[in-house]
């Protein structure tokens, strides 16, 4: 492949747009894994579930997925709260949330994936939104709306959640849970309820990210597995507990992936996240913003 500024600029631009979407993918992992210490490896399965909900929404109900995503997110939030309550009841309370808890989430991931296979089959599904078919050009940089809209939506979701976490009492309690569980009790917040809400937000963000995913590319039930490495790599690189860190890490991964796929071929891009994860764990486990 010949090197050209043209290609490079385009790769960076689409990397940034991809990064905005990856930020949406990783928000839930940063909240659940980074802040609450719940290793929710079923997160990508919830994302794919969100994709299929968006698919149903436009093809069966005729409702634009950008409109229905809010409703599905509320459903996801309620589901997430009860899900965490069950997880707390069976694992955290008993104190053996490591081995059994991990296997539990693995089982959930598996159940969601196989259920989708049984309902929808293994075909790739796509949705068609005519108003996103346009591509803008700035100089030689191409900006397809199909990528730009999910990027804007993803970043907007991240900013909204960050504002909620830093401005409201419950939001601050969520941040505090990550730092000192006892202190949360002292200021009069119920740590379990706080974690319930936080996990609900994590699941809701997964549902929205899934809607964005099916806008960008076609989706099949097992595609979630490609996002496990990505989501956790972003979370670790971003410093585990920080949403701004998550956004920066998501941009880095997005750009690294589009560069790789532009200059080495698209088949190598899934390996980028894994490499990034291993390098981060080996050399900088505190993440880019960590000390």
């Amino acid at each position: 492949m010949d090197f050209s500024w043209d290609l490079l600029l385009n790769a960076v631009a689409s990397g940034i747009m991809l990064g905005g979407f990856y930020a949406a993918v990783a928000i839930g992992v940063t909240i659940a894994f980074g802040m609450l210490d719940i290793v929710n490896i079923a997160h990508p399965a919830f994302i794919v579930l969100g994709s299929f909900l968006a698919y149903l929404s436009i093809n069966s109900l005729g409702i634009d997925p950008f409109l229905s995503a809010g409703l599905f997110a509320v459903v996801g939030f309620v589901f997430g709260r009860y899900f965490y309550r069950a997880y707390y009841h069976f694992f955290e309370r008993r104190g053996d949330d490591s081995l059994q808890g991990l296997a539990f989430f693995f089982g959930i991931m598996f159940i969601v994936e196989i259920s989708l296979v049984l309902i929808f089959g293994v075909d790739y599904r796509l949705i068609d939104l005519p108003y996103l078919a346009k591509t803008y050009e700035i100089g030689f940089v191409q900006i397809p709306l199909r990528l730009a809209a999910p990027c804007v939506a993803g970043v907007a979701m991240l900013v909204a959640i960050q504002l909620y976490l830093s401005k409201t009492f419950t939001g601050r309690a969520i941040l505090a849970v990550a730092q000192d569980l006892e202190a949360v009790r002292f200021v009069g917040a119920n740590p379990i309820k706080t974690k319930e809400i936080a996990f609900g937000i994590a699941v809701a963000s997964a549902i929205v990210a899934g809607m964005l995913l099916i806008v960008i590319q076609s989706v099949e039930p097992s595609i979630g597995r490609e996002f496990i490495g990505r989501a956790f790599a972003i979370c670790v690189l971003g410093g585990m507990t920080s949403l701004p860190g998550t956004l920066i890490a998501a941009m880095i991964l997005g750009i690294a992936e589009t560069m790789t796929s532009t200059f080495f071929g698209p088949s190598w891009s899934p390996a980028v996240a894994f490499g990034l994860l291993l390098l981060t764990l080996a050399f900088r486990p505190a993440g880019i913003l960590g000390r």
Partner: protein
């Protein structure tokens, strides 16, 4: 004073099980003898069925050396299995290598892969290792799909050689090889469990900091367990190309293997060597029966649900249930 001394024997005199288990070796030898003697008298279907169960015993036991004894979850079983599988295919393409040597090579390659992943991630919290193995399986699959020498996404055909002298069919030979592998895996697991290695791993599982503080060489033991775990998974995959005769990435990186390797030890019970064996026999047989009656996807869904039910309601597995039941009776 003397009465007190005689009532409690010092720990050294208590009956401590030996790391080398003769009973398992004898039972294993008996199973191999039966398999050889049955020869052409039973339908080949039963040999195929027994092979699958033996393969799951190797996988579940390998998983349990790391997962059960040390408490570190390996989600990448399908990846290690496929590495073994494709080692055989690559060796077959390069030179006509006999199966036992291919198995050893697969063990070395997959063991090194386990060692490398462990070395990069095990110094941190255990979950990072789990996440890394999960992501690794995806990356390995991408790698194999793009590697046309071993068939790429089109897959590769393997010809079964003719059966050797004491065996009537090649499938019978495969079954005996896999049975020997299962015996080796179980005996290694028993040796680990009953030696200072197993004690060290158990100490790490219960409290890693305390274990390190009292002189357990944590990282080295974990790396040993990771290597053994990877090696057995790779060895279980090595005869697989001859077993199904056509391998493509989805069949080598199969979902069934990924979930069963975790479900079997957890359903059987992770604390002892016979938990995974029991789990493999129970789940393996059930699935073989169910695959005939219902679809294989629905089959895997049931495994997933059973796994979730067991880890929530019976975290000690069938072994734990049996022990609780016995305890209630006496």
């Amino acid at each position: 004073m003397t009465a007190i001394h005689s009532s409690a024997a010092p720990p050294a005199l208590r009956r401590v099980p030996k790391p080398f288990s003769w009973p398992i070796l004898l039972v294993g030898a008996a199973i191999v003898a039966v398999e050889i003697l049955l020869g052409s008298q039973v339908s080949e279907y039963y040999f195929l069925l027994a092979y699958v169960i033996m393969q799951y015993i190797v996988l579940a036991t390998g998983w349990n050396i790391l997962g059960g004894y040390a408490g570190y979850v390996n989600f990448g079983t399908a990846g290690f299995f496929a590495v073994g599988c494709y080692t055989t295919i690559a060796l077959e393409k390069l030179a006509d290598v006999p199966l036992p040597i291919a198995i050893l090579a697969a063990g070395v390659v997959a063991g090194l892969l386990g060692l490398g992943t462990g070395y990069l991630t095990l110094r941190l919290r255990g979950v990072f290792f789990s996440i890394a193995t999960l992501a690794m399986a995806v990356v390995l699959q991408t790698l194999i799909v793009n590697w046309s020498f071993v068939g790429g996404s089109r897959g590769a055909y393997m010809m079964r050689p003719d059966a050797l002298a004491p065996f009537t069919t090649y499938v019978q030979y495969l079954l005996v090889v896999m049975t020997v592998l299962a015996i080796v895996a179980v005996m290694v697991a028993v040796a680990v469990e009953r030696s200072w290695i197993g004690m060290g791993l158990a100490a790490i599982r219960d409290d890693e900091l305390a274990a390190e503080a009292s002189g357990v060489p944590g990282l080295r033991l974990k790396l040993l367990a990771t290597t053994l775990c990877g090696a057995f998974m790779g060895m279980a995959g090595a005869p697989f190309p001859y077993f199904i005769t056509y391998v493509d990435p989805p069949s080598a990186f199969s979902l069934a293997i990924a979930v069963n390797a975790i479900a079997m030890p957890l359903i059987g019970g992770t604390a002892t060597w016979w938990g995974p064996v029991l789990g493999a026999v129970l789940l393996g047989t059930t699935q073989q029966v169910l695959t005939v009656t219902i679809s294989s996807a629905a089959n895997l869904l049931i495994v997933g649900i059973v796994l979730v039910v067991f880890v929530t309601v019976a975290p000690l597995g069938v072994v734990g249930l049996v022990r609780a039941w016995k305890g209630r009776r006496t």
